[in-house]
Every structure is written in C-alpha cells, then in structure tokens.
C-alpha cells in the first residue's frame, strides 16, 4: 500500500465519523493546550519574579545587622533593630577585592511635611554610590553627593509618589525641585526626584525619601547611636559575588572579634541566592502545573485508544474484506496506527494553537507575561506523537491479527 493511499484511507475513515473523531481530537487538544499554557504561565511567573529581584539592584549583596534569619524556626528581630554595623565597617568593606561600590543605609520612618500637606514614609540616609547599586535613576535634579554627606547638608531626593503626596496629584517632578520640606521638623531642600520604578515584591522606591548618610546619622541617629541599618555592596560582576560574600563575612567577623560564624551579629543576603531560591520555587510550581496538565493528556490518549478499539469492532467486516482482497497484516496495522497518529497529530496542532492563544490572552489581561517556550512545544508535540503510537498500537495490532474468516462472519 502506497503512503498516499494510506493518507487517503485515513482521511476517509476519520471523516466518515466526524463528530466522534472531533471529540477524540478535542481530548488531545485540551491536554496539549493545558501543558503549553500552564508551562507558559509558570515560565512567565518565574521571569516576573526574577525581574523583580533584579530590579532591586545589580550584583547586590546586603549586609544586615543581627543574626542570620532561620527560615521557619525561631524569632528574629526586625531588620535594622540590631546595632552592630558601623560606618567604619562600611569603609573597611570598600577595601575587599572585587567590590565595586558600597553604601551604608540608615533608614527610619518619619512624618514629612511641605506646604500644608504631609505624609509618613521611609527616610533613608545613603551615599552617592547608592543610586548605582540600587539601579536608581534620577528624573529631575541630581542625586546626593559624598560632599553633601561630609558637610551634613540638609538636602533630599524624593520619589515620585512623595511628590504627588506632598504637592498634589497634578504636581510633576520639576515642581518639587528647590522646594523645602520638613522631615521630623528639620528643614530639607529637595534637590532631585527619582524616576518611577514601579512596585516590586521588595517595596517601592517611589515612596522613599533619600538624604545624605552623614546628615541622617547626625540628626536622626541620636547620640552615639551611629549604627547602620544596612550596608549595600555591589560586586564587580556576577561571578565575583560568592567571593565577595565570603571575604566580607571574614572581614566583619574579624572586625567584630568573632570566631564562630554561626553566632555572627550580622547576616549577608546575596541577590543570586534569592534568584536561585525563587527560581527553584517557581520551576517546581511550573513542573507541578505541567504534570497536572500531563494527566489530561493521558486521559486524551485513553480517549484515542477507546475510539480506535470501537473502530476495530465496528469495522470488523471491513477488515475481513480488506484481508480477503489481499491486505497484509502490515497494511491493516499501518492503517489503524496512522489513524490514531493522525488524531493525535491534529490534536497536537490545534492544542499548540489553543495553548498559544490562552498564553496570549493571559498576557493581554496584564496579570503576567506568559512565555511559550520552544521546549514546551517540543515536549507537547513529542508527547502527543508518543500517545498516538502507544495508544494506537494495541488497537492496530488487534485489527491486524484478525482472522479474515472470523472477521467476515462477524455480525
């Protein structure tokens, strides 16, 4: 039997019972579409979380005061509550190899007032390098300089949300430059406004107020309490992060006269670790989603097998006749196997299209950017082809092994 005839016979057989063929294909369509759509959504979630982590800075290592937090066990003081990091620590870290920039932070929440309006937000004392470390960009004016920190200048850089909170919803960034605001009743002049960055899982920088670190420590830290709430370190590149983290740990342990790293009075947060942890969570989630979708694919495959077995019984006399007029076992086997494969192939094509469509709609809805990956399409196609062969094999074999005499007599 020629291949063209095989295709012709398959088309003929499947179109003879369009509704049944259609419903069987639908089972595969749903299976394939859900595998593709769910992995696309999982991938999208993964990318969105990673981007969100990346947005807090590049090659960032954070040193926090207080013992390392044990996930799920015990209680720990909040960030910045312990007092163990000093400006001297910050300066020492700058000497560590492969450190590109360091900025201490002193953060507290204060009431801020300007021209009759007031708001309560986070005020952070930072160095000039903070903007680079935290991927902060200036919309209007300029960022804090190291000289302002040294001269204890009372200047502030504010986020765009603070601008609208203080100067009205219609205020633009340039309106705020040069204005005076009172932070905890101390007057500051606004010298810059940051660009809108949007919220992330780690708090929005749009609502923050930045002032020189020296000024913050002088006016807000109180007598002899010049402890930092965070030290931000930027490594020169991604590959140096582990080395920088180890060296900073060793340095700080030595500076704080400690020998047991488990009892350190500080903890170090590595951005790469965060990304890895988040990725492993989301990829597990993606796999789980794909596995659930995979179950529906198997159910679809069973649908194919069911239809093919019904087909073999219904077409028993036809099989008998075909054998009587010279069809070999291989001819019959191929005919039924190709029918099953054609069903899954159709299901695969429509399934990929539907899965893509669902991903597109999810992306349009703005929830997250679903990413259809080539690997998920290849996986789905491979699985559907395998289903066609696996679930089509048994009925095809049943058909090909029929005795023509019995098949012709079948009522």
């Amino acid at each position: 039997m020629r291949n063209r005839d095989l295709i012709d016979e398959t088309y003929f057989a499947l179109s003879a019972n369009k509704v049944r063929s259609g419903l069987t294909v639908l089972g595969i369509v749903i299976g394939i579409a859900s595998v593709i759509a769910l992995t696309a959504i999982g991938q999208g979630a993964q990318t969105s979380i990673q981007t969100s982590i990346q947005s807090i800075g590049s090659n960032l290592i954070e040193v926090l005061p207080g013992a390392a937090r044990q996930f799920g066990f015990g209680a720990s003081g909040g960030r910045g509550t312990a007092r163990s990091l000093t400006v001297d620590d910050e300066n020492a870290i700058l000497q560590v190899a492969n450190v590109a920039a360091v900025s201490g932070e002193f953060t507290n929440r204060y009431q801020i007032a300007a021209a009759g309006a007031n708001t309560n937000t986070m005020v952070t004392g930072v160095n000039a390098s903070y903007a680079a470390i935290r991927n902060l960009t200036i919309d209007q004016g300029s960022f804090i300089t190291d000289n302002q920190s040294l001269s204890l200048a009372k200047v502030a850089v504010i986020g765009p949300t603070v601008v609208t909170d203080l100067f009205g919803a219609s205020a633009v960034s340039s309106d705020a430059i040069g204005q005076n605001i009172r932070i905890n009743n101390i007057q500051f002049q606004i010298i810059g406004v940051t660009k809108t960055k949007g919220g992330s899982s780690f708090g929005s920088q749009d609502t923050m107020v930045f002032i020189p670190l020296g000024t913050a420590l002088q006016y807000f830290a109180g007598n002899g309490n010049a402890y930092l709430s965070t030290i931000d370190i930027q490594a020169t590149d991604q590959s140096a992060m582990t080395q920088v983290q180890n060296d900073v740990t060793a340095l700080l342990l030595a500076r704080h006269n400690m020998s047991d790293p488990t009892k350190a009075d500080f903890s170090i947060l590595n951005q790469t670790d965060l990304v890895t942890a988040a990725s492993s969570v989301t990829s597990t989630l993606t796999m789980l989603l794909a596995a659930i979708a995979g179950i529906s694919l198997i159910v679809g495959g069973i649908g194919i097998m069911n239809m093919m077995l019904t087909n073999v019984t219904e077409r028993m006399r036809e099989i008998g006749l075909r054998k009587a007029i010279g069809a070999t076992e291989k001819d019959i086997n191929n005919q039924f196997l190709v029918e099953a494969i054609a069903l899954t192939f159709l299901g695969g094509i429509f399934g990929i299209a539907l899965g893509w469509g669902i991903s597109f709609v999810v992306t349009l809805s703005g929830l997250l950017t679903a990413q259809v990956t080539l690997s998920s399409i290849l996986l789905a196609s491979g699985v559907s082809a395998a289903i066609g062969i696996v679930f089509g094999w048994y009925p095809a074999r049943q058909a090909s092994k029929l005795n023509p005499i019995d098949a012709l007599r079948y009522e």
């Binding site: 039997m1 036809e318 009587a324 007029i325 010279g326 070999t328 005499i405 012709l408």
Partner: protein, 246 residues
C-alpha cells in the same frame, strides 16, 4: 488451474472437540471453467471455500494454484496470493459503507500498488463488464439495490484480473429476479471474458447455471459431473420479464 490433492481439514486437532470438516478431497478446475460446489449446510462447503480462497490452509494434502503449492503458505504469503489470483463475491456483498461504487471497485488495486490513474480506468472497465453504467459510479454503496451491490462486488472481484472468482452464495440475499441478473453477469463473464468461476451454493436451481457441479456432503465429494442441462440466466430473465408483462 486449480488442483486439490487429498485435502483434509480437521478443526482443533488432538483435542476432544476435534472435528473433521473435509476428508481426503481431490479435484481439479481447469482455466475458464464454471464450476458449482453444492451441498447443504454442514457439508463442508464453507471450509472448502476458505481453502480454495486461500483464507485458510488444509490440515493435510496439497493445493496447487497456478502451479504454486499454496497449502503450506504463511498468512502474509496467502495475502499476496489472494491479492493476485483470487476475487471474492460474498453473500452479504461486503462493500465499504458510505463509499462510492468506483472507490469500492478500486479497492483491491490499492493493495496491489497500481497507480491511481490506472486504477480508475481498470475499475471502470470491470464495472462495465459486470453490467453497471456510468450513472452508478458516483453512487454510494448504501444507495444501491441488492442486485446492483452484488454487481459492484463482482466488479471488485474482477478488477485485478484474478485466476479465479470465488462466489460464496452470491444470490443468498437476493430475490429470484435479481439473482438471475447476478447469475447472468457471472455467465457472461465466463463465456465472453474467459473468467474461471467457482460458485458455492446450497440451491440446485443456482448450481444449475454452472457447466459442472460438484456435490459435497459430510466432508466428502458425492458426485462431480458435467451439467448436461446448463440453465441460461439471460434467457430466464427474458422469460421472467415476458411473464411479468402478461
């Protein structure tokens, strides 16, 4: 040329249900013969038909078809023989449902690996030879009358120019008038086209249209003789029509 030598068929040999359907049967059918094999049900004529049609193999004995011993062939070898040398006409037609007449007639050529264009030409010739006209070709098999269906089946049996057409109770599902039409077709094919035909039936009326009648009963041949009074289906059809007009 068909030759049966000491053919026996035992079902379930060596078990308590063992049943001998054919005992040492021997006969030969020459090319262009029209032979009827006649016997009541249970006589072994179906078993004989299955072996003749290469659908089954004998337990012992030799079956030679066109100088080939087919009695010990495998299933796939038998399929090849059926494809090249045998055309079947069944009592229940066994046409593909919801399929055009032309496509039904072409089916054996699909397995014979004939090119699509040639298939159609040969199927049209075969359909003409079995008395069908162009207007039938595009009809679906389930839109035809019984007589027409059986003639499509005859065309299908004819299309790959077999050594032998094996007609198993071809008139069993037809009324006497359409039975005559089918027999007329078979007789014409035998006389004008030289097709060898073996007709299996339990009715002596039907067997009477063959030139030679082999009677079987209980798995043995009772008689094998030339039919001195061959009935002519064409004449009978004319008579039938005349009677109807009166």
């Amino acid at each position: 040329m068909i030759e049966f030598q000491n053919i026996s068929k035992i079902y379930n040999p060596g078990t308590p249900e063992a049943y001998t359907a054919l005992h040492n049967i021997s006969f030969a059918v020459k090319d262009e013969e029209f032979v009827a094999i006649m016997g009541p049900s249970g006589s072994g004529k179906s078993t004989l038909m299955h072996i003749l049609g290469c659908l089954d193999t004998p337990t012992s004995g030799t079956y030679t078809l066109d100088n080939k011993d087919v009695s010990t062939m495998t299933d796939n070898e038998l399929a090849e023989i059926r494809k090249d040398k045998i055309g079947f006409v069944f009592q229940s037609f066994n046409l593909l449902p919801r399929t055009t007449v032309l496509r039904n007639a072409m089916l054996p050529l699909v397995y014979a690996g004939i090119a699509p264009r040639e298939r159609e030409a040969r199927a049209i010739d075969a359909l003409h030879a079995s008395g069908l006209t162009e207007e039938h070709f595009s009809h679906l098999s389930n839109q035809l009358s019984g007589g027409e269906r059986q003639r499509v089946a005859i065309a299908r049996a004819l299309v790959n120019e077999p050594t032998l057409i094996l007609a198993d109770e071809p008139t069993g599902n037809l009324d006497s008038h359409t039975s005559l039409l089918v027999l007329e077709t078979l007789q014409r094919l035998n006389r004008e086209h030289g097709v060898t035909i073996v007709l299996i039936t339990h009715e002596s009326d039907i067997a009477g249209h063959a030139a030679r009648i082999i009677r079987v009963r209980d798995g043995i041949i009772l008689s094998d003789e030339k039919n001195e009074t061959v009935r002519d289906a064409a004449t009978e059809t004319r008579l039938y029509d005349d009677l109807k007009r009166l």
